[in-house]
């Protein structure tokens, strides 16, 4: 199964994390689950990359965290998008569109 999953491109994880948080505050596990769901089980977030990414984003001030109670009634650390994070996401998205468009152009050239 793992082989079928596509590895995330370097740098895109940050964007995806920011994106999942636009739908509401989430804890780490929730983020990884949501990425999996939203990619229809194509993308699997490696936990070893997820947490460093979260801490890095927090250090950069793009997200902030707070301890709260999850829907299952358990204490968990929830991440929330900051304004700077929202701006960053918009920017990353523009970059990504331009990038994927360019790649698509190359692939279509025969």
């Amino acid at each position: 199964m793992a082989a079928a999953k596509t590895d995330l491109l370097q740098g895109t994880l940050d964007m995806l994390v920011l994106k999942t948080l636009t739908l509401g505050d989430l804890h780490g596990w929730g983020i990884s689950k949501r990425i999996r769901q939203m990619s229809r089980d194509v993308l699997e977030v490696n936990q070893g990359s997820l947490y460093p990414a979260l801490y890095r984003l927090e250090d950069q001030g793009l997200i902030e965290s707070e301890w709260s109670v999850s829907t299952e009634g358990r204490r968990a650390k929830f991440y929330r998008l900051t304004r700077a994070g929202r701006e960053r996401l918009a920017e990353e998205r523009r970059h990504w569109r331009a990038f994927s468009l360019a790649v698509e152009h190359i692939l279509q050239t025969t």
Binding site: G48, Y51, P52, Y55, W67, R75
Partner: protein, 892 residues
């Protein structure tokens, strides 16, 4: 988020590391539990689900490590960890640590002690408002610089353009009577303009108005110290009175504790009381330009530079000369200028402090070189440990950092110990009480000085750690693991160490040269013959007030009776009094006109430093009478005027002639009139042992009257030559004075040898500090040589073993080793001599009787260093010969 928020957040993580770690654990555990539950929901067995979840998560610890990296505080967490590790390794080698700490504590401590003095004396702003805007206005004539200004000049200087305020002040000592013992206090006489010029206001009450100043109204300001001492800091002191020289004065204000007039700061004195100058501009005779006794101080108007201030002052002096040519003859070369107050007040202390600062910098550099080579040896012996760490995955940068953190930890610990050394050093310096060092008393350890010490410690730590750290991280670290024992030859590290030792020798030699030069200079001063015999002389100052001694006979009679009384006391060989005590005061000069030699227009009249003495003074002070007779009791007010002149004066104005019996007229005709030379005495060096003798003349107290006022001299210093210990006569003096005038204070009771010694305190202090520093430098350099040579011997033990097995004598081996040491010493000596010659040129002005390139000193210190070098190499060399060849060969 700004960088600031990020910094705060990182700091919080650092300070609350445990909580952050705990939260990370909890977060990851939560993740795994949720994953396990998810898998269980999908039908897995709970235990299997948990195992799968763990597996899916991957290497937990590795991820934690990566997560820690992402927090952005990695560097600091590592540094703290390195520091803890450094403390552990340092504790493991107590010998090395102790040597390093002692060396560092001494180096940093001495540097800090001298810095605290430099800071207190030179760097701190003067206690005035905006001190950069204040200038001292001073006159110059002939070769005398920074001269005082006269009342007439004061009136003219008040009109200086570009000055926002201008004032003058003088000093005196007055008798304070009233409650308690009569006391002699230092009184300053500022004009009202001094306060705005200095930008200082009172702590309590108010300062003088111009009217009070001009009319000399009976008002005074107290210094904070005097107010505290005499009035117990009572706030209702305003309006009370004190009695100075029998005059009642009303207290109108108290000055702040740190207030001192500029000249008092420069000389390290403190006026207790400030009384109005009392010069009324309307009453000053502007054509009478003499009598320079005031110091001028001005505040520049906004936008006026000190250079502008100097220029307008010079122009005004030129205008004065043009207006009063008779008062300023061309030969006098009169001029005036304005110099920034910081320069005039602190300038005299600067050269000596710069020498000491330079010396401690050398000591600190030697300490650094020493420590650096210690760390090199240590790193050398730790190559295996470091190689092991590299093999286990530490990267080179991390290793470099760890070594630097280690040397910084060491240096910081040394710095903290150094603060103790600095404290002791400053206390010692203060206890020695070197005179005439402005503001020295405020030196001490404060946050500023402590900050300096820590900064020096960190810089030292980085500086000494860098070389070994680079050396090690550049070397192929895997090598030691492959090599056998004894094969490692860290050639480059040994080269570095030899270079460090050579540098230490060069620095130590320069310091020794400095110490040698200043010691010789001090000895030269010490052996100067002052022209009198200071041993067995007791001195004391008396100032009978004119209010109780209204006429001439009352005051001359007082001294006549007192000296007659004292001369008869047991243990007194001779007694007399003089206006100005040699080596403790300055002397004014007086012009005179020699009979039959009128002074041509525009030429400078003959002049000489003058003293007024009672009979017995020349004998009591031991000033040798060369020809003629001394001043005697018969030279009374009605007797013909007499004068005793110094050899220098006779040689200047009567070269090759007999001066005895010649006559001259003092003070340009307004002085005591015609006097006849009745005796010639030896020259006395008055202003300082490094001064040239100047022409001097001695007038009889009973005959002398100040021109103008016509008053005799009231304040005199007694001099008693004792038969036994001079200090034992103190009671005799006090009793005799009390017998004649119980209300008269006896001040400044001192043994003349102490006066001479005090005048040498500064050169003695500089010389002894330099000797102390250079001995330390020599010991450190010797330890450095010893260290390098013994390390070299230990690595070549095998070679020496073979040599001796093949028949080399121990003499040959010793020679071999010493030759290596000697090479370093000679290289260092040559470099040191070059440094000494370069630095020596800067010292010229501070030395007396010895040239900065004095060959004796240079040869002597070179010899001392070479001897120290040979000794330091001999010890390990002789150890090399005791090596048993079989042992070293088998060790392989």
């Amino acid at each position: 988020m700004t960088w600031f928020h990020r910094l705060i957040r990182r700091l919080r993580i650092l300070l609350d590391r445990e909580r952050v770690e705990r939260e990370m654990d909890e977060e990851m555990r939560f993740h795994i539990e949720m994953e396990a539950e998810e898998r269980a929901r999908r039908g897995a067995h709970p235990r299997a689900a948990r195992r799968q979840a763990l597996l899916a998560f991957g290497g937990l610890e590795r991820f934690k490590e990566r997560a820690r990296d992402a927090r952005g505080t990695r560097l600091w967490e590592d540094a703290l960890q390195d520091a803890r590790y450094a403390l552990r390794t340092l504790r493991r080698s107590p010998g090395f640590t102790a040597v390093a700490l002692v060396t560092l504590a001494l180096g940093i401590g001495i540097t800090t002690a001298i810095f605290s003095v430099v800071d207190a004396v030179l760097l701190r702003p003067l206690p005035y408002g905006d001190p950069d805007r204040i200038v001292q206005v001073e006159t110059r004539w002939e070769d005398q610089s920074s001269g005082n200004i006269s009342p007439a000049e004061y009136i003219d200087f008040r009109e200086l353009p570009g000055f926002a305020a201008f004032g003058v002040y003088g000093f005196g000592a007055l008798n304070l009577t009233g409650d308690g013992e009569p006391q002699r206090v230092r009184v300053a006489f500022p004009s009202a303009g001094v306060f705005p010029a200095l930008g200082v206001g009172p702590l309590l009450g108010r300062v003088f108005t111009a009217e009070e100043d001009h009319a000399d109204l009976p008002v005074v300001l107290l210094s904070e110290g005097f107010w505290r001492q005499r009035f117990a800091a009572s706030p209702d002191v305003i309006g009370r009175t004190i009695t100075l020289n029998d005059r009642e004065l009303e207290v109108i204000g108290v000055m702040p504790a740190d207030f001192q007039l500029p000249a008092d700061i420069a000389s390290g004195q403190r006026a207790a009381i400030f009384a109005p100058l009392g010069i009324d501009p309307a009453q000053v005779d502007l054509t009478e330009r003499g009598s320079h006794f005031l110091r001028g101080v001005g505040r520049l108007a906004p936008g006026v530079t000190p250079g502008d201030g100097a220029r307008v002052t010079e122009q005004m002096a030129e205008a004065m000369v043009a207006k009063y040519p008779g008062e300023y003859p061309a030969d006098m070369r009169f001029s005036a200028t304005a110099r920034p107050i910081t320069e005039t007040v602190l300038g005299s202390a600067r050269p000596a402090l710069l020498v000491l600062s330079g010396a401690v910098l050398f000591v600190l550099l030697i300490v650094c070189a020493n420590l650096s080579s210690l760390l090199l040896s240590r790193a050398e012996s730790r190559r295996r440990e470091l190689a092991m760490r590299v093999a286990l995955g530490a990267d080179r940068g991390r290793l470099l950092r760890q070594l630097l953190v280690e040397s910084c930890v060491l240096a910081l610990a040394g710095g903290i110990l150094g603060l103790g050394v600095a404290h002791g050093g400053v206390e010692l310096l203060l206890a020695l009480q070197p005179p005439n060092v402005p503001r020295l008393e405020s030196a001490g350890l404060d946050p500023r000085v402590a900050g300096f010490a820590l900064a020096v410690a960190v810089l030292t730590g980085l500086g000494v750690g860098l070389l070994p750290a680079l050396q090690i991280s550049r070397a192929k670290l895997s090598d030691p693991l492959k090599e056998g024992r004894g094969q490692t030859r860290a050639r480059s590290s040994e080269r570095s160490r030899r270079a460090l030792v050579t540098a230490q020798i060069a620095l130590a030699l320069s310091l020794l040269t400095g110490a040698g030069l200043f010691t010789r200079s001090f000895l030269a001063l010490y052996s100067v013959d002052p022209g009198f015999r200071p041993e067995n002389v007791l001195t004391a100052r008396l100032s009978p007030p004119s209010s109780r001694y209204p006429d001439d006979e009352s005051i001359t009679g007082f001294y006549r009776r007192l000296i007659a009384e004292l001369s008869q006391q047991p243990g007194v060989a001779a007694a007399g009094a003089v206006t100005n005590l040699p080596l403790a005061t300055s002397l004014g000069d007086l012009n005179f006109e020699i009979e039959g030699r009128p002074v041509p227009e525009g030429a400078v009249s003959p002049r000489a430093d003058w003293q007024v003495v009672t009979p017995g003074y020349l004998e009591a002070m031991g000033i040798p009478l060369l020809r003629g007779r001394s001043i005697e009791a018969s030279d009374g007010a009605d007797a013909p005027g007499v004068v005793v002149i110094s050899e220098e004066l006779a040689a200047t104005y009567w070269p090759g002639e007999d001066a005895l019996g010649r006559r001259f007229r003092l003070g340009g005709g307004s002085g005591p009139g015609w006097v006849t030379v009745i005796g010639i005495v030896g020259n006395v060096i008055h202003t300082g042992l490094d001064a040239e003798p100047r022409p001097q003349l001695y007038l009889a107290h009973e005959q002398f009257r100040f021109w103008g006022s016509g008053d005799p001299v009231y304040s005199m210093t007694l001099a008693l030559r004792s038969e036994g210990a001079p200090a034992a006569l103190t009671g005799t003096v006090r009793q005799a004075v009390r017998g004649l005038d119980p209300a008269l204070p006896v001040a400044e009771v001192r043994v003349m040898e102490d006066v001479v010694s005090a005048s040498l305190a500064r050169p003695r202090l500089i010389a002894s500090l330099l000797v102390g520093f250079s001995v330390l430098a020599l010991v450190l350099a010797a330890v450095g040589i010893y260290g390098v040579i013994s390390y070299g011997v230990s690595t070549r033990a095998q070679e020496f073993g073979i040599r001796m097995a093949l028949g080399a004598l121990s003499r040959d081996v010793i020679g071999l080793v010493i030759r290596r040491g000697l090479l370093m010493v000679l290289a260092g000596t040559v470099a040191g001599l070059l440094i000494s010659l370069a630095v020596g040129r800067l010292l010229g002005g501070l030395l007396f009787g010895v040239s900065p390139t004095d060959p004796t000193t240079l040869i002597a210190v070179s010899a001392v260093l070479v001897a120290a070098g040979v000794l330091a190499s001999y010890v390990p060399a002789s150890r090399a010969t005791r090596v048993d060849p079989m042992v070293t060969l088998r060790a392989e």
